[in-house]
């Protein structure tokens, strides 16, 4: 550096005007570089020569609005409608697919219950196939919400069970028991979420706002039934396999780094249809209905069959019962 004391910039900057401010080589280069960068940015943002099409711009604007939105649970009806419209538009812009995302709310007087007949299940896994296709599950990671365990006769012991069987079923000496999210009445996953991204709806379905989830996976540690899945990479569903009938809290497109799980096919059940697994089961092992309706099949099963639930001692009160013929 020079011995000339005038080479140091004044700490207060009030001597002389800015234009007469003495500056050294390094400072001058820095200022010119900053100016060039700022100028090119300004030029690029406004000019049509920048290479950004109106669609790309729209995607950026929509993505920004989606990023700053709040928790779906606390949104007003308008905000919900807006975010659904944005998501549908983004699906069209990004993937070229037309999707219809519902925001259907819970019907009053309905709480869903599920019963699984372990005498009738033969391990065909048609429910798994239907679920994958209905819920747009990640094909690359081969996500499956439903697990069918081949259990040993004589005990209900999951430690001795195997869900990776790939042989003709039913096999001698075994019975079959399926698990998925049980939509517990007192869910530990809801209690532990630090941002309130998962909650239970009035009709009993525990849902996740995928855009609010921060991916801490505490809920996965808390679930006693291993019902939740995480997107370890970007989920892929080929466009020709995509189910366009979606629900915001259900089978819409998820992204990397968020948790997802079975929602009892919320986009179907809130329209009065059966969930895909119950409909697809060829042996009729799955019973689904409204627990608040005393004349429903699920209530008949609970009243007339000997039922049990997994891990009753944990007092999670799952709404998924097992029974036999």
């Amino acid at each position: 550096m020079s011995d000339d004391h005038t080479s140091e910039p004044s700490p207060s900057g009030d001597t002389g005007s800015l234009l007469q401010k003495p500056v050294d080589r390094r400072g001058a280069l820095g200022m010119m570089l900053a100016g060039a960068v700022a100028g090119s940015q300004a030029l690029g943002a406004c000019s049509p020569l920048s290479g950004e099409t109106p669609e790309e711009r729209e995607v950026k604007v929509l993505a920004w609005r989606e990023y700053i939105k709040g928790n779906y649970r606390f949104m007003t009806e308008e905000e919900r409608a807006e975010t659904i419209a944005r998501l549908e538009r983004l699906a069209k812009l990004r993937g070229g697919v037309d999707v219809a995302i519902q925001g259907t709310e819970a019907q009053p007087g309905v709480v869903f219950g599920y019963a699984f007949n372990i005498s009738k299940c033969k391990g065909f896994r048609r429910c798994v196939e239907a679920c994958i296709n209905e819920n747009n599950l990640d094909r690359r990671a081969a996500t499956q919400y439903i697990r069918i365990f081949e259990m040993q006769d004589g005990e209900v012991n999951l430690d001795e069970a195997d869900a990776t069987f790939q042989h003709e079923v039913p096999a001698e000496g075994h019975f079959y028991l399926g698990t998925q999210c049980f939509q517990c009445a007192d869910p530990p996953c809801v209690r532990v979420c630090p941002v309130g991204a998962t909650w239970q709806e009035p009709d009993g379905i525990t849902v996740i706002d995928y855009d609010w989830c921060i991916g801490c996976r505490y809920c996965m540690a808390a679930c006693p039934y291993w019902a939740r899945r995480f997107n370890w990479s970007e989920p892929e569903v080929p466009a020709r396999d995509l189910n366009p009938n979606q629900h915001y809290l259900g089978n819409r497109a998820r992204k990397t780094g968020v948790v997802e799980k079975c929602t009892f096919c919320i986009h179907r059940t809130r329209q009065g249809r059966l969930p895909a697994c119950a409909e697809a089961c060829p042996t009729g092992a799955r019973v689904f209905g409204n627990l608040l309706d005393p004349d429903s099949e699920i209530r008949w099963v609970l009243a007339n069959k000997r039922v049990f639930r997994l891990k009753e001692d944990l007092k999670t009160e799952p709404r998924f019962w097992y029974f036999t013929d």
Binding site: E129, A130, A141, V169, D241, L274, G284, I298
Partner: protein
């Protein structure tokens, strides 16, 4: 023998074929799947059956027609309906899940009755054939119901009309009302079926309750469950990260 005479004999033989073989035997039509379609209406055999069929309503659930169930009530003593045998019966009542179509009844793909309707051969009383006996008839019906003892045809089929089911005590039921026959022996399953713990309900959990008939899942001639190869197993070790590729 002149050439002319040989030609004439050959011509007569050729003509004799179609002339002698031409009968009034209705050939069952083959649909796209090679399975004969069910005729639009089943002829009721008596006035009671006719009365039951009179209460038929067109199905709300797509192409499925349904009829009210007699003698059994659903939970809360609510009446319910049973799906009639329809054109998609043999294909197993498929439904769409996302972009795939999967059969939802167990009997999908089991041996189809390729010679239905029965009256195409059995003109009236069972043993009286309306036409020549066809070689290898009934080779796709292996009566194993129950497995060891084996019921006779007349256990279930009425003598005067094999397309009608014979109930104990003399009553008759149509093929759509198979539950009335099955429930005579399998009353425990029938009770569960009426309550909802057995069988399948079509399409929804609320509103009008239409369930599949017994024969939609159970082949009455061979009701034992056939083993199958399941859909693919889950992968325990995580795959699919782009860094793996």
């Amino acid at each position: 023998m002149t050439h002319r005479r040989v030609g004439a004999i050959l011509l007569c033989l050729l003509a004799a074929g179609p002339v002698s073989g031409c009968r009034e035997r209705p050939r069952p039509e083959r649909g796209a799947s090679g399975i004969p379609p069910v005729p639009a209406t089943t002829v009721p055999v008596d006035s009671a059956t006719a009365a039951r069929y009179a209460r038929l309503e067109p199905g709300m659930l797509g192409a499925v027609q349904a009829m009210p169930v007699e003698g059994w009530a659903g939970p809360g003593a609510r009446p319910f309906e049973v799906a009639r045998r329809s054109a998609v019966l043999e294909a197993g009542h498929a439904r769409e899940f996302g972009r795939v179509t999967l059969p939802i009844a167990l009997r999908a793909g089991s041996a189809a009755l390729s010679q239905y309707p029965c009256t195409s051969c059995h003109a009236g009383p069972r043993l009286v054939m309306g036409k020549e006996r066809i070689r290898d008839a009934h080779n796709n019906i292996q009566p194993r119901h129950p497995e060891q003892a084996g019921a006779a045809c007349s256990t279930c089929h009425a003598e005067e009309n094999v397309e009608t089911l014979a109930l104990r005590g003399g009553g008759r039921a149509t093929l759509d009302e198979s539950y009335r026959l099955c429930a005579q022996c399998h009353f425990q399953q029938a009770k569960a079926w009426a309550g909802g713990a057995h069988g399948k309900r079509l399409d929804g959990w609320e509103g009008r309750r239409v369930v599949l008939a017994c024969t939609d899942c159970h082949d009455p001639h061979r009701p034992a469950l056939q083993p199958q190869i399941p859909f693919r197993a889950p992968q325990l070790h995580r795959t699919g990260s782009p860094r793996d590729e």
